[in-house]
Symmetry: C2
Subunit: 452 residues, 2 copies
Amino acid sequence: MTIEEIRPALEAIVGAAHVLSSPDGPRLVVRPGTTDEVSGCLAFANRHSIPVVTLGGLTGLVRGTELFGNVVGISTERLNGVLDFDPLRRQVTVGAGIKLEEVHRFAERHDLRYGVNFGARGSCSIGGNIATNAGGNSVLRFGMTRANIAGLEAVLADGRVLSDLGGLVKNNTGYDLKQLFIGSEGSLGIITKAVLKLSRPSVDTASVLLALDSLDDALAVMSVLELKCGVSLLAMEIMWNRYFKTAGALALRGSPLPLADHHPLYILAQVEGAGNGPSAEDLVLGALEGIDFIPDSALASSQAQQEAFWSIRDGSEYIEASHPTVLSFDVSMRPQDYSTYVAGVEDALSRRLPEAISYYFGHLADGNVHFMIAHDNSIDHADEIIEACVYETLSVYWPSSVSAEHGIGLEKAEHLWRSRSEEEIAVMNAVRKTFDPNGILNPHIQYRSRLD
Amino acid sequence: MTIEEIRPALEAIVGAAHVLSSPDGPRLVVRPGTTDEVSGCLAFANRHSIPVVTLGGLTGLVRGTELFGNVVGISTERLNGVLDFDPLRRQVTVGAGIKLEEVHRFAERHDLRYGVNFGARGSCSIGGNIATNAGGNSVLRFGMTRANIAGLEAVLADGRVLSDLGGLVKNNTGYDLKQLFIGSEGSLGIITKAVLKLSRPSVDTASVLLALDSLDDALAVMSVLELKCGVSLLAMEIMWNRYFKTAGALALRGSPLPLADHHPLYILAQVEGAGNGPSAEDLVLGALEGIDFIPDSALASSQAQQEAFWSIRDGSEYIEASHPTVLSFDVSMRPQDYSTYVAGVEDALSRRLPEAISYYFGHLADGNVHFMIAHDNSIDHADEIIEACVYETLSVYWPSSVSAEHGIGLEKAEHLWRSRSEEEIAVMNAVRKTFDPNGILNPHIQYRSRLD
Ligand SMILES: Cc1cc2nc3c(=O)[nH]c(=O)nc-3n(C[C@H](O)[C@H](O)[C@H](O)COP(=O)(O)OP(=O)(O)OC[C@H]3O[C@@H](n4cnc5c(N)ncnc54)[C@H](O)[C@@H]3O)c2cc1C
Ligand SMILES: Cc1cc2nc3c(=O)[nH]c(=O)nc-3n(C[C@H](O)[C@H](O)[C@H](O)COP(=O)(O)OP(=O)(O)OC[C@H]3O[C@@H](n4cnc5c(N)ncnc54)[C@H](O)[C@@H]3O)c2cc1C
């Protein structure tokens, strides 16, 4: 079908005002306002085998929302708002297009908290978070998005609506289908509504920045903090020297860093107080008491001090802005493998791209290393270098993942086989075919095995 | 194929010693000792369309393991033992046949804890727990079995092995297939191994028994305990008057009950101390301070006192033993609907089966009511009475589930439609067909819609 034929059919479903032409091309973007309209759009697309791409907040980092060819974009922007709230069960039902930040604001107004949080909060949508099973800084405490979802509604490729919005804690009546949609990157259906779990907020928090001499020492501190602080531990990040030094200098704009910048590793941990027990500060100091191998440390308990500490950890954007070329990675492995992996990447880079500078940081206990390879020119054969330095080096480790948080999208399709077996990929595709026999949903995202 | 033809083929795979005839019939039970042997058995069964039933610890409560017709039982009994342990990540890899209680013992030996726990622990297997997504007393704190699984290995109907045993906290590379197996009751494959999450154990615990005048009061107390104790709250059970009085008298064998037995409702809550913060006792007393509508309460902090309190809650077996006929139920709904549901069941019973005596208890915050309908004779037309008094009464409430913890099995197949939509049931069956095109896996368990 041509765009000229498709447009009036979509206009009849969502209204002419909500069918837009994408500025840079002949493609259409529809903005359905209800689940029924999503269903109408998909049923139409499916009947005519028109490929569609679901568009959330467009903050995804693996090119999952690229529009190309004759594809129709379906935006969830108008599927927003808070639809229901159960204070007793601490559950809120929202439209999938609602921004993450609006959920935080809603929770705060009710003296509650939503556990998923990260830098893109002002733009990303809950539907996008669910479709990518987003993580963030408090996975340690609240888990990935998956652990924060009590219910979902999704529209299947043929327009049927799967609804599981009851938010029951216990419902062992067959397969928990919502689990499949979480992390499916729009390939199984369009998520239209979700029930989110909220929890009581922090009474007080404290952050501690620790210098460490080695990964072994860092892992020892990690275990102590996990065992002594338990669920009071909100976040526990690791920064390698070059990241700490550079992001710190840029983020604090020349103010002195809280710790000397010559230590190999830094941990930044945030703890919350127990409310009716010890304060956050007492908790973290108590936990660290008696550890004699921390060469330097700094405690922040005021909001302003904590923000300064965290601006270092969140300073990757400054590093990005300070080099003409920056490639970013998001891989996962066992924490005990961090050092040899980082050394392996450094070693491979020193041979392939000696002028590159790389910066390593991550979510310590999650096994999640983020890093940036920066270059002061453009990088020739970047794909090949990435393959050799980042992913081949990673594949030495088991278990490991080429995508800890961000998904596969277009970006990582060719590396999927490194993290999932042929059998898993075959089953994923069989499941996908069951949900979307005509292959209309995000067809650009392909779960390919090495043999494909 | 006849049993005479099947037996030698299975013997060739698992060894003659591990192919048994079921005592009460001509059926075979095989006991594979490795994943490869499970794979061999299934590939053979699939080739010849021989139906199989997976047998774990046989403690399931919905007749999921019934052998009938020409079916071959595949027991996981020999797939046991601890296979790997990562103290840093607090993960243990086990064979699916390991008993739940052995996992607890292993965790204790390493000063850790596995969060899933319930009465059948000495007999039930981890594979069965996963296949039924079992709950138990600490779902409030640790979630259902689903929340305690970091990895799985399963053999598909055609013998292919899906393995995801890396235990990565973060791995957003496509669908999280293990989620599908959790709660699938053996209908998608045989679980052969699992990676379990362990956590730090309690330092000290205290239990409090509270009398309440109404459900509203009980829910108010629930909210206070949840908000003030947070994750220190290990369990929070509700007992209606008749259950408390009867189970209490039987469990304590005539010793006086900790509270007078005339109150409409009782809550039994267990809290753990913060380790480096307030003791469990201080925590629970602090949380309840200032609540002026609790007519009576008792605190247990010694192990022996706590055991006495919990023997009341766990006293359903005494009630079962004290009536010739006892029917047991496991339903779920919003906690705010408990009272009207219980009143509805009582009312329906008073009209249909006036001599019945029913006993209600449950997991307060989980929305999970268990109850028993007892009768001093046999019950005629039990199915019809159950339908009218238990499930039709339940269907008035949304959301609600005919199976909170136990699964569907043979027992609840005809009620599935009350909790899942036609679309959900259709998708479940489509997924099942994708995994098991010849329909050999637990074919007696059928996910039927009302129209089937
Ligand atoms: C500054 C910044 C920081 C970030 N930090 C983190 C972080 O800490 N942790 C982390 O995990 N990620 C992070 N991300 C990436 C993260 O994946 C996204 O921010 C977010 O989860 C995507 O939401 P979105 O609404 O923008 O989705 P989009 O980018 O619009 O879409 C992402 C994918 O999901 C699909 N999709 C979107 N909505 C739906 C729907 N309703 N139904 C079905 N499919 C849908 C799309 O087709 C696409 O494939 C960050 C991104 C930025 C820019
Ligand atoms: C005294 C008692 C108390 C109980 N308390 C609770 C409770 O508090 N909470 C709760 O949720 N349940 C409870 N149950 C029921 C509970 O479902 C089971 O105890 C347990 O989870 C089942 O494990 P099992 O190994 O005995 O499985 P089985 O009974 O052998 O099997 C159960 C189902 O799972 C399938 N299955 C078993 N193993 C596998 C495998 N490896 N791969 C694939 N499929 C498999 C079987 O085919 C069957 O359909 C209780 C039962 C008893 C007897």
